[in-house]
Structure formats: C-alpha cells, structure tokens
Symmetry: C3
Subunit: 479 residues, 3 copies
C-alpha cells in the first residue's frame, strides 16, 4: 500500500519533464484554450469537459498561497474533477506534530493526485517517495516551482513561437526564488540566453549556476569586457545543440552578437522575505524608467506574482506587461498537466516515459537513517526534525576532475556538498568495519556496492560508530 | 484581459439593484423554494438543478465568516456549480503583501463569479473595478452587506406580502453594522418606516441618514413631540411615492398615525466589536421584557446573526422570532442572485439593465494616483497602504444649495466629505497650472473637463505640486 | 424549523449504533471496497457512484485535523456528493462569539449532513440536539470518536473475520484519547478481551471503566495473580453472551486461559497533549523490542494516527503494522455511514431503528437553564460559557445499590457525578417549594414528574433559589 505503482509519475522539478513532454503539456493546454477562443472568452476555460469526473485532487499547502492553490483547484474543477484541501498548516495534523511522510501516505488514499507546497527545500521529492499517486510540486522552499515555469514558458511561447535565441533577463531575488530556479533550467534547455540582474547578494545559488554550466551546457560570458573573470556580472548562453555536444566542446556562438542582442523578456521577482532573516534589503524596482533603455524596447515584462513593490503598478497599462496573462494561463496549463498525469488523454500521455529530462546517470548513495552525514542545506527537508526518521539522506555522487575529490548532490534539495568542504569526510565500509579519509572510496565502488558504505563527518564520528582506520588495505588494530 | 466585459454586473450595494430587479431575484428564489415545498422539505433546497454545472464561484473572505460563506457555497452547489475558497487572509497571498486589485485580477481568471468579504469599506467596489467577472459584496467593513438585506427583505415579504406601510425598528450598533446600512436603504426604497433604536453613540452614520433624506426621500419625524429638532430621537418615514416626487415636495403623510403605528418588525444587531476600539460598551438587550410592550405584540424579531448577548436565547421559542428563517432563506436567495448574474435563466436576467437603482447622476471626479486629497474615512479601501497605487480617489460631486459649497462622496465607501470641512480645499487646473480656493470650481466645470482638475488639501499642497494662485481669471506670477 | 425530523439519526457515540447496524455499515463498506478490487486498485475507491449527487456534507472542525476531515470529504466526493467546510475556528463565526447551538441551527439549512469536531466533551451531542439533519461526531474532546472506531473494527474484521475471543492491548493515553473510549465500548460489545497498557497516570477514566463493567458486562481480571484487588493492572474480559446475562451472573470464562492467550492486536495512541496541561510526560514507545516478546508475535499493530514518537518508524515495514490500512479504510467506511444516514441504499438503512445500541433505559433529569447543578467535568460542553444558555444540564439517573445513593451521568459528556461526591446535593421540588437533602428524592419520583425537581449544590443554593427545607412531608416555615 505504501509502495508506489510503477507508472506513477511525479512532477517535482521542471527536469522531471523532458523537452518533448513539455511540448505535449503545451499542446494539450492549447487545446483547452482553443475551446475558449471558439466561445470568444479570452483566457478563461469553460468547464466543458468532465474527463476527470471520477478524480480527486488533494491540495496540501503548508505555506500561504492564493494563486497557485486556486488555479490548481480551478483547473481540476474545469476538468470535471473535485478537490479536497488542507490550506493552513496550523489547523492540520501537522499541528499535532505529524510528519509529512505520514500525511502523504494517508492522504494518498483519499485522492488521486496531490499538489503540495511546503517551506522546506526538497519536501515535494520526499512526498513523492511516500505517495502511491502522482505528486505535483506547488513550490518547495527555495528549491523549485515547476508548474509556474510551465505557465511562464507557455506565455513566452504563445507570444514568440519558440524560445531558442531568446534573451531573457531575470531580476531580483535570484537566490531565494524557487520560480527562478525552475525557470533558468528550462530556459537553458530550450536554448534561451539568461541575463541575470540580481539584487545585491541575491545571485543565483552556486549549485544552480553549476548545473547551468555542467548539466545544461551554458557558457558564462562576461557582460563587461574588462572583467572576463567569470564573476557574477555575466550572461548564461546556451550552447546551440546542447544535447549533441560533449561537455567541453566549444559551440559556435558569437558572444559579441549575444551581448548586443536586445532583451526579449524581463522576468521580475519579489524579495522572498520569508526565506531571509532580514526583512528589508536594497532591491531593484522595475518601472518605466528602467524599461526606457533601448534594449528593453520590445521586452515583455513578466512576474510570477504576487508582487509587492518591485514592479511599478503604472506598468499595468504598458503594452509590454504580460504578467496577468501569465497568471491566467495557470488554468489551462495545469489542466493539461493534471489530465496527463491522470492518463485522461487517449493519444497523449506522460506515463510511457521512464522519467523526466534525460540527465547524466549519477550513482546514488543512500544512507541508513540515524547515522552518517547530513545535507549541508539547513532548510533541506532531511534536516526537519519531524521528518528525520522518514527521510534517509541520499546523495548523487557527482563527477569531479580530480581523482581525490567528489561532490555530493542531495537527492531532495539538489544542493551540493562541495568537494572542498568535504575534505574531512571519511567513508566507512560496513563489511570491513573500516574507514578511509576523503570521498575517493565512493568513486572506486561500483553502484551496487554503495549500500555498504557510510559517509561520516569525521574520523571521530566513524570511530564512534565502531569503525577503525583502514591501513594499507587491511583493518588496523583499534586504538 | 483586465477590462471588464460590458455586460458584467456587480452587486456591491443594495442600490446596485433596482426595485424591480429585487423583485426578480425574489421570484427566482420563490421558484427554488417551491421545489422544496413539493418535496415537503421546509426551507431546504434539493440539489435538483444543475444549471450552473459549468461555473465556479470564488469565495474570497478576508474576514471571519461561517454563515455568509457557507450559504453562498451551498447555494452554488445546489445550483450544480462548484467553489474555490480562500477563507483565511493569513494563509493567502495577502500574507505576502499582495494588493486586492492584483488578487482580483488573477482570481477572475480562475472562476466565473466572485463573492468577497473584506474589513475595509469600499473594498468590494474596488474589486468590481478590477474584475472581469461579476463580484458580489459579502460585506465590506461598515459599508454594506447587500445579500443579507435580500434575505431580510425576502423574509419580511414572505411573512407580510409587501413592505409598504410597514414600521421596522432597528436596534443596536447602527453605526458599525453594514447589514443595517444596506437594510435601511432598502426599507426606504420599498416604502417602510424606519424606527432607529441605537445603542448610545451608535446612531446611523451622518452620510447614511443624509442619503435616507435626500436620495431615498425619507422625512425625519420626532418621536417625542417636545423635541421636534431633528435630533436622533426620530423616525424615518418614506414618502408615499418617492420616485414621482420632487425632492422638496411635502408628501401627504399623517405623521401622527405613523407615530402610533405598531412595530411590524424589530431588527436586532450585535455590537460590531471588530469595528470599534473599545471592546465593551453599554448595549441594549432584546428580551421578553422589552418585547412585552404593547407596540411589539406582533413584531417579528429579526437578527442577521451571529448573535452574542444582545438577543435573549429564551426568545428562540417565541412565535415572533424569525431569525433562523432569515438564515435559512440565505440559500434560495443567493441561488437566485448567482444564477441571475450568470444569466442562467432563459426569461429572467439582470444584465439588460444598465445599472442598479436609478440614482441621481452626479458628476464624478477621478483623481490621478499619488496626488490630491484622500477620502476622509480612514477605513476606506483607498486609505489602505497596500491598495493606494491601484485605488485612485474618486468622488461624486454632490449638489449643495449654497453656490460656494460642494460635498464630495467617495465612490468606494460612500462617505461624504462635507462642505464645511472642505472650506480649505483648493481646486487646481492642470491646463492652466493655477488653483482657486474652495470647491466652487468643481461645480462650474462640465463633467468632461473634470479630468483636468485636481483637488488639493490646501494652497500649500497645490503650490508644492506646481500650481499658482489664480488671479482674476489669469495666472498670477509664481512667488 | 429547529425541530429535528423524526427519522433523523445522529452518530455521536459508537453506542448510537447497534451491533447489527455496525454490521450493516461494514457490508456496505465492503461493497464499495469490492468495486475497487475489481479494478485492482487496492484500498482506493473509484468515484464511480453518484448516489449522493444531490447532497452536501458540512464539515465543521473546531480542532486541527487532516485525516478525519479529508477522509470524510473524500468519502462524500466518492459518493458523488459535495462539501462545504469550516476548518478553522479562528476564521469562523465562532471568532465573533457565536454559540455552537446557533451555528448548527444555521448550518443545518445549508447542508444535508454534518460532521463536527470540537474540543469540548459532549459537543457533538449538543449539536445533534439542535440539528434537523444527521450529525456525525468527528471527535469531541476526550469523549468519543465513533467513526475512527468503525475503521478500526473494519480493519480488525477484514484481517480476522470477527472479534469474539480476540485479545486487544491498548497502549498509551487511555484517559485523554477519545478514540480509545469508543474503541473499548465496541471491543466489549463484540466480545473481545481488552488488555490496558496505560502510560503512568493515563488509565481509562473511571466512568469508562464503570460502563465496561456495568453496561457492557466486562469482568476485570487481575493480570498479576498476587494483586487480585481490582487495581488498574487488570484485563477487561467480556462475558460470553453479555446481552442474555443478568448483570450479576458469573459467565463461564476460564480466566487462566484468557490471561495466557496471545495478543491479537496492539492499539497504540499518542499522548493527547492538547488535553493535558503538562507538555511532556513519561510515555511508552512501541518498537521492535517491545513487540519482540512472544505474546506479540502475531499481534497486528494499530494506530489511529497521527503518531508522534510513540510508534517507531522502523515498524512501518514490519508485517504486523496495519495502521496505514486503518487510515485507508476511512474512505469506504465513511462512504457507507454517510450513505446509510442519507438513506441512499434501497435495501439497507439505519433509519428504521429507533436508536443505537440497546442500553438500559435510565430516567432522564432535565434541568432548567440558569439554575441548579453543573456537570462535574470542566471540559463538558455544558460548562462552555458561550453554550450555557443553550445547553441545559441533563443527567441520566443511574441505578445504585444503596437506597440513599444515586449517580448522575451527564447526557452530553457521559461522565458521572458519583454518589459519594453528591452527598451534599439537595433536591428541590418546584411544586411544593421545598428541598430535601441527598439525591434519594430522584429515585422515588416517577420519570414523568422529574421535571418538577431541581438539584442544587447545597442547601444554601436551594434557599437562595427560594426553596425551604422539607420537614416531615410538610413545608417548614422559612427562617
């Protein structure tokens, strides 16, 4: 009962959908939109279909929301389905101290599909692990918000007929905004150029920038010619045919042209004050003056909303503003995603694909609960005291070029424990009861033997857990 | 997309419905009630119709409610429709600082009709301005609560077959109760006599009393013959044929008879403690002793509920108590209103009427955002910091008898800036860059030129905004 | 309108259902489950039926809940019905100070069936008194949680094909857990043996233990042979044919065998911290070590969930763990109960039975509001200041063996005012205006004359209420 059915698909990250699957979602969404156009009702869907009439969506929102929750619930109703809702953590079983893992296992018996919002990074992935029905991530901490990105892409595509060669500026809190993280992965994957305009100290997180470079084949190009030092003042340019390129080949891109290209869209985000300890910080405001610069003359202005003060209300009547259309598209796009996950379309489906975006297959290290290292991200769901006994630490072992180094990427929140920081780690071997310094042992162990290894924070931790230092391939005498 | 469709009707005030339209609502409601009677289920509607099966009601409640929200949602379900609900401001996007204007623009893409409750006076009117779908006011601050009044009138009518010549006493917090404000307008319009029994210091607000007299043709008649001074100890008597009378003609009413007439209904309201800073005040309690007086012998006892202590529980079994019937009628009355606003009745509709109750057409002054005077009501939605950039101040220019004086009525909360208080205002002319003292200029300017004027609080404000005093029709030299 | 229809059935206590009716609920639930099995979907119900398509369930939750509320709402949707929900007391009319009695009278016009959760013992019974539609108790204070018990029994029966001769251990907070109270009554009625394993100081409440012995024919048998003193260290053994036995006949049970019998199920409960003033107390943890004892080798592990720390997460993969199945059965069991209460089954119904479990008919004393004694349980709904004017104190007069003594059982919370404590009570006679010491007068008065009596806390109270001591059958002269 707690075992997921084999064909259950979850959408936790935008990268759980391949590019082709995203196109499928959009095709279905356009179909729903077209029904409207025929009735001359712009952007609103008649509740004309009842394909989901036997299905229930459970909305589990552990954080404030109007837009996302109501648009999911509206989408489900427009499909003919029904909703059950838990929208306030303070009045739910969480108030009694229940773990997310338990809530999901129970709720997945009451509904056919779950959408979850949670303040912890990686919470949606944990939920998916414990769910026998599809889980959609409605926003998890600062990690991802994939359905917002689907709406964003759909809006851009309906305006521009494609994303390749587009140049998209992203402004504001690039660090705390989960919307941005899902968005930049998608932009890169579809061949757009990303121009970051972060508020001071709110640059893209290092692990996101790293993935853009390593996994999604972006090149960082300095915007100011004098400082070609790879600092933050740089564009991310997607290589032309990323999936056919090897990681180190130089694509045929004329960076000069890219730098001069006008901005096609400015994506503005609010200061995610719930993710910071400071309540006020210097923050850019996008207004008519900012957009008066020549390169923005045809730039669509986008915002995932809600906005506070970072976007001037006077822009609402500017022809470049498309943020209310973004919000409106939330219904058809979510209708499409829900109906595909529930297999309600005869000829289209997501379930035949084994997973999402084809990524490098990294070996996975799964740690036994109650021992070994923790994720370095304090906001990761694995660091939530209520979840610890249900959330084993799991790390992908990432490739590094130095043979002695190794980076660990948390399966849940996808932040990296960098090789530098991991120098003091040791790897213990449960079979031999010994440990070795550094993470090199992880790289030398085949995937099917990884379960015998335990990563400890230090030699002391390993010894406390009953391991002895390994000496020359043999177990040393315990001191 | 943010532009309302031309035929979208909103019910913000009871005066948005003409008398004839209110009768239409009641006819439809009786139809729904009759279906019940045929099944011998008193006061409850079988969910027998599915006319609204393609429609979604969005409930946006920024203030506590059980009754109003649940009866709207029940009505929508009984019509075959569905609901999406945001019932707690603390868990909605408002918690992130989103403005009402943005929330409405977004939500109006997710649903087909909105009901809103909000603590600010005038919030529902602002919502209607930004909505492309019908907005129903479920209570806005101390302003109005028109659907409660529809239930009240429906209850009175089902008991008395009409309102003309009825005498209705209204007791309690007449100042803070939005229910009372909508109710007294309706009573006046349908020819009832209003007998106010306010708690000390909780009389009808001056602008409501003024509208009763000037707009709805009521005469104030002193209840105590010795004090015919127009003080609060007075009845409001509706002129017999108000709409055919000129404003100043004396109707043929025998006030002596009116004063002696027995009370037909006592309408009790609770102390609206959320609208006052004091938590306790002397407050009348309606009980068997109070109702023992001869003039109340056949008086129906009404209450919009919830009640606290102002209505003795012992009255529940009194044959005069009809307050639970009032609540029960909430469903058929709201079914009727929703279905009419959604155009679900073949032969009946609200949408052919251009507006609500035919009122005097006052010229409208619309101020540019960020300049000029503010509404004098601190609880007006235009004074909410989060809304200021979306809520332009708008005032109707009311007629006054002195040529030098002029009263401004806020479009949103409908409170008046009285002529006396406005003596220090100046009117600036954007074309000529000059200002003149007083509001007289407003009266001398044709409606289509009003957009060139700006009302400032003082000469200093006008000068700070770059205007110079007007001298003899010409611009003076700036000091 | 406030008068319930004669055939309206409420499920406030598990004892409102007879054993045969519980079997009927299970038959219907199995029918719903079977539909699933045919589709190979374990534990989940397709929304295949629309028998309830004309009906609305109102969820009124005055306490946190996810599981119970969502499973009720899911059940209603799976039946084709719809829901209206008030899930947060802070945003409902209760925040304005409304009484439960009023809320129920109003809500029962908006829906067809109500499920209520409330922090006060007895609240659901009060709600049922004021409702014209069926009320289901979703948990009231520490009193009862009958639908959880239905799920528990259904789970046990689906595993064991019956309850007779089973031995069920109950662990944890037996005092504060309403789930336990409903469960032990049902276990006793179906012939199971109850083995209490309370946390220190959290034994079954005296009135529950008393009912097990007196009403449900249980024998207390000491678990430790040396202490046959009837202390807490005892089993409750159900007599073999309880309903055919007189109260004092000794059933033919071999207690030695019962004591040796292995445990069939361990029912674990969390510390109900919201019912205690202390936030931490010593509490048993059920884990693999505990269950390693031989007598638990085949014991199913049950838990009503949510769990905190009292049940080791490592047990989740233990074959004995059936707690997630318990939760999953919530949907079909509640579907069955709702559909039976709404009379949606042609051949099966609850409405022909006059009441619940056939219990001894005790005379009922109903006190006038505002006078006389209060229930001794401070958490009883009758002691809630907001409800006092609607909740008359009502007590069953229980049989006692001493002619001078008499125990009173509150109709709402079912706690007893014990004879010992009631020694200082006096009974006043409204007809004669006299009072007599003790409660003996209650036993000597026929049921139809009880309404003339008033129980006062003391002679002083009776005299303050205008009664004089009764002297030799005549009224004494007032001092």
């Amino acid at each position: 009962m707690t075992k997921p059915q084999p064909l259950t698909r979850h959408i936790v990250s935008i990268n759980d959908l391949s590019n082709r699957e995203i196109e499928t979602v959009f095709q279905v969404a356009y179909g729903f939109l077209k029904e409207l156009a025929d009735h001359n009702i712009p952007y609103r869907i008649g509740r004309g279909t009842s394909v989901a009439s036997k299905f229930i969506l459970a909305s589990l929102f552990y954080e404030p929301s109007t837009r996302t929750r109501l648009s999911f619930e509206s989408a489900m109703l427009r499909l003919g389905g029904a909703n059950i809702t838990s929208a306030d953590p303070a009045v739910s079983s969480a108030a009694k101290g229940e773990s997310l893992a338990d809530t999901i296992r129970v709720t997945s018996n009451y509904a056919d599909i779950i959408v979850i919002r949670h303040p912890r990074d990686g919470a949606a992935r944990l939920a998916a692990e414990y769910s026998q029905i599809p889980v959609i991530n409605g926003g998890d901490g600062s990690h991802e918000h994939p359905t917002q990105t689907l709406c964003d892409l759909f809006t851009l595509r309906s305006k521009n007929r494609g994303l390749r060669n587009m140049k998209v500026a992203i402004s504001g809190d690039l660090k705390g905004s989960r919307t941005i993280h899902s968005f930049v992965y998608a932009l890169a994957r579809f061949g757009a150029t990303i121009d970051p305009l972060p508020a001071p100290g709110m640059e893209l997180p290092p692990h996101v920038a790293r993935r853009l470079r390593e996994e999604f084949h972006c090149r960082m190009v300095s915007k100011s010619p004098n400082e070609a030092d790879g600092s933050i003042d740089a564009l991310y340019v997607t290589a032309d045919q990323p999936h056919q390129l090897s990681l180190y080949a130089e694509p045929e891109i004329d960076y000069g042209l890219v730098l001069q290209k006008k901005i096609d869209a400015v994506y503005v985000t609010r200061f995610q004050k719930e993710r910071w300890t400071e309540k006020e910080r210097p923050y850019p405001k996008i207004d008519a003056k900012f957009l008066g610069e020549g390169k923005y003359s045809h730039a669509s202005v986008m915002h995932p909303l809600p906005r506070v003060n970072e976007l001037d209300a006077a822009l609402d009547s500017d022809r470049r503003a498309i943020y209310f259309r973004q919000a409106a598209y939330g219904v058809p796009v979510r209708m499409a995603l829900i109906s595909l996950l529930l297999h309600l379309h005869r000829s289209k489906s997501l379930h035949k694909f084994p997973g999402g975006f084809a990524k490098a297959e990294h070996p996975l290290y799964v740690q036994r609960i109650g021992t070994g290292i923790q994720c370095a991200n304090p906001n990761c769901i694995t660091n939530d005291p209520a979840e610890r006994q249900y959330a084993a630490n799991k790390f992908y072992i990432m490739e590094d070029h130095s043979p002695q180094r190794c980076t660990l990427r948390c399966l849940y929140c996808e932040t990296d424990i960098e090789a530098e920081a991991s120098a003091h780690f040791v790897v213990s071997d449960s079979t031999r009861k010994t440990y070795s310094p550094g993470l090199a042992a992880l790289k030398h162990t085949p995937a099917d033997k990884l379960r015998h290894l335990v990563i400890h924070n230090s030699e002391a931790d390993a010894e406390a857990a009953g391991f002895a230092p390994r000496v020359g391939g043999k177990k040393a005498h315990a001191g």
